[in-house]
């Protein structure tokens, strides 16, 4: 099997590795992940490689836990460390979406209901403007029948990436969701505000007095969304700065 070990894309700056490990802890601190979930980033110099922690609860990840993978999700440097079963989510999205530089997978609790019923997620406020472009739902049962619901191989990752298409966020029925972005910071931001938006949308729907008639909700509209999303990707990084500072106060990196 060692013949199949893919070659590394080269060394990555320690501060980027630290940011990726910090992203795991940020997602845990923000309630997006619990013992499960993972975040990856594309190798900054080798677009055919990506970086992700070994199989470990997100709140415990350190830079030393990060493994490099090729886009078929074969580890370049496992060194006996075990990999996440669902790393194929990441590899197949990187293959299908050259614009995506980072991916988050989570079971964020407020988001899960939207993957179980026919009510679409919408952007309740400017920080979640990226949701206004549409949030498709991947139902693994359609193509693969009864499974353990995990995206645990390449074909399942391909199917998920196909449903995701050009969107930033996709729901996974009876499982969770995926958020991606052009930078690590933006992918984390989107994962966090997808959860925040879901909480707001639940109460908004309750307030509107209907679980299905979404027409009465004055959500961010299609024309506003691209304009608002630019701000999220620039000035919105103030949130990342806060979260990164909070992680730094707890660890030495």
């Amino acid at each position: 099997m060692s013949d199949n070990v893919p070659k590394s894309g080269g060394p990555v700056a320690p501060e980027l590795m630290a940011d990726l490990a910090a992203a795991s802890r940020i997602l845990a601190a923000q309630g997006v992940v619990d013992g499960f979930g993972h975040v990856s980033m594309r190798h900054p110099k080798a677009p055919e490689r990506y970086l992700m922690a070994r199989s470990l609860a997100p709140a415990l990840v350190t830079p030393a836990d990060i493994i490099e993978y090729d886009l078929d999700s074969n580890a370049c440097n496992a060194n006996g460390r075990s990999s996440f079963l669902e790393r194929f989510i990441h590899g197949e999205i990187y293959k299908a979406r050259p614009d995506v530089m980072a991916v988050v997978h989570s079971h964020s609790p407020s988001v899960i209901p939207f993957g179980l019923v026919g009510v679409p997620m919408r952007a309740m406020f400017h920080n979640a403007a990226f949701l206004a472009f549409g949030v498709p739902t991947f139902d693994i049962r359609e193509k693969f029948g009864a499974t353990d619901l995990l995206v645990s191989n390449g074909p399942k990752g391909v199917a998920l990436a196909q449903v995701m298409g050009k969107k930033d966020v996709a729901l996974m029925r009876a499982h969770g969701s995926v958020a991606c972005g052009p930078t690590l910071q933006t992918a984390v931001f989107r994962a966090v505000y997808t959860e925040v938006n879901a909480r707001i949308q639940h109460w908004t729907i309750a307030l509107a007095g209907s679980g299905t008639d979404a027409t009465r909700i004055a959500a961010v509209d299609e024309d506003e969304a691209p304009l608002a999303d630019v701000i999220n990707r620039t000035a919105g990084m103030r949130a990342w700065d806060l979260w990164r500072t909070q992680v730094r106060a707890q660890v030495g990196w």
Copy 2:
């Protein structure tokens, strides 16, 4: 009375006693128990004995607080320590279910509503797949009339165990619930994700626009559930590892 003190099943490895004490604190940290609730494990070498803390709030339990009981819930080594009034929940489930190695009893707040109305719990995501096998409700009033609602003797424990049958989780009307499993870790996992799932199901039902028509919710189905549950009992132990690490950071065991 000392003539009735049952004989011990023999010494238990200190690390297992520490894990059991840690399980109490984990359940408190995860919001499954507050000042009340308890977790037990079957004696690893003597299946006719089980281990559980003395009557004490779960967040305060240490290994030294653990008492050994026979399956009639008589203490082997109380040494003046008082026992939980509801230890019969544990003893009678161990009697009825040789496959069960650990039991959690809690008043987990999001779960209680499902024991009060006719809406069944269902598995909203893969981590709660064990709920897809069905969650029966024990109403102590049916057999015992007006009581203090506690399962405070053998017959009440037997009746609860009968309602539970072969399931992993049972609701107790106007009281709480019980979760069990083939290992301590799995029982704790199930107690935690029963609560998490209840929160998700409340919002899912609200989103579906109906408190009773559950047919519109694309929950984990019967074919998926056993497959997903295997993962929970294996790779899912990553959650236990996180929780155990968090307890270890606060105590010396």
Copy 3:
């Protein structure tokens, strides 16, 4: 005015004063009070006197902040310290209810809705059994017209105590609630579990699919309630032990 200063009922054991100060902090830690709310206890040796902190946020109270009052809510030992505007809640309940030894007033957020609409609070589980005896609502507007909503003098306190009658908990429309008990520990327990029960009841009503038809909810019934409440006042003190231990870990008393 100094002629009107009532005489003290005599010294109180320091550990009781510490328990009363701790009760304030417990209520804050449990989310029952925020910057506002107060807890009092009847003087242990002088039933015509009660003890309560000076006007101060509950989380900051120390034993040195406790003032003694007569049942008209005149301070015995203010020494320049300011009193809560609503101390008359306490004084008038102690007058009307010789069985009451402690009173909690709070604006506990999940409870407030029940004082605003015609849906009665019911006991969703055994720990809240005391609610099964009925929870009346005091509307200050009925007798006093437009006010600042505060129970800021004797007559308003009398009117509240009349509405409360023999119950353990009363709602105050557009304001908050009062819980009382035969011991400090039980009054605190009831204030905490009134809030917990309110959260559970909100979700139970949502689950039952109706905000008004409470008949479908299998709450603690009238026969069960007195039996369950005995346990709360005895074994239920395990919760107080936990909370008191947590306060002791933060302060020296």
Copy 4:
């Protein structure tokens, strides 16, 4: 451009600068702001100037981060520090409302739904009495068409201030809200209790069994509101004292 730098209104007492920085941290600790949102106060001696932190997450603000602005929101002493894009919210409200001495802008999650549907906010309890005077909604789309939703220039700030009129709180559709007051402490109090009230109102509406028929909710009425609000602005400062003490326990100012 340096010719356009407005002149300072003069030095401000260090304890007032510290209070303003603390206000930012208080709003973060109370869940009113996350990585975003800001609080300002009018210059205590120069009514044509106001003070606000540089563009920074509220939880990180220190007194050294505070910049002085004229009412057109030009910085007097930026010294290379970047300003919040939405500072015009503050400047234009100070222009329109001489009575306002402090302004908070937030994306407080429970409040956002009220800006998206046609259900008015009402005062659920005395601490939120200021809401009883009415809470208008600013929809930036009406006057400015598709935008990034930010109040990022003078005209947008003017339009917001016009919708706000003489009220204490205004909603911003698909964005957030603004709260103001005659003192820094009162503005912070109002921002906090607008969020608390929103949570209570959501559950109250659910309990009333209707998202639109608000007539069944016995909210603070128009006659009670002014009386209750006086108390909030005086005795209600007990909450500020608590929050300020909590900040002081974490920083040296």
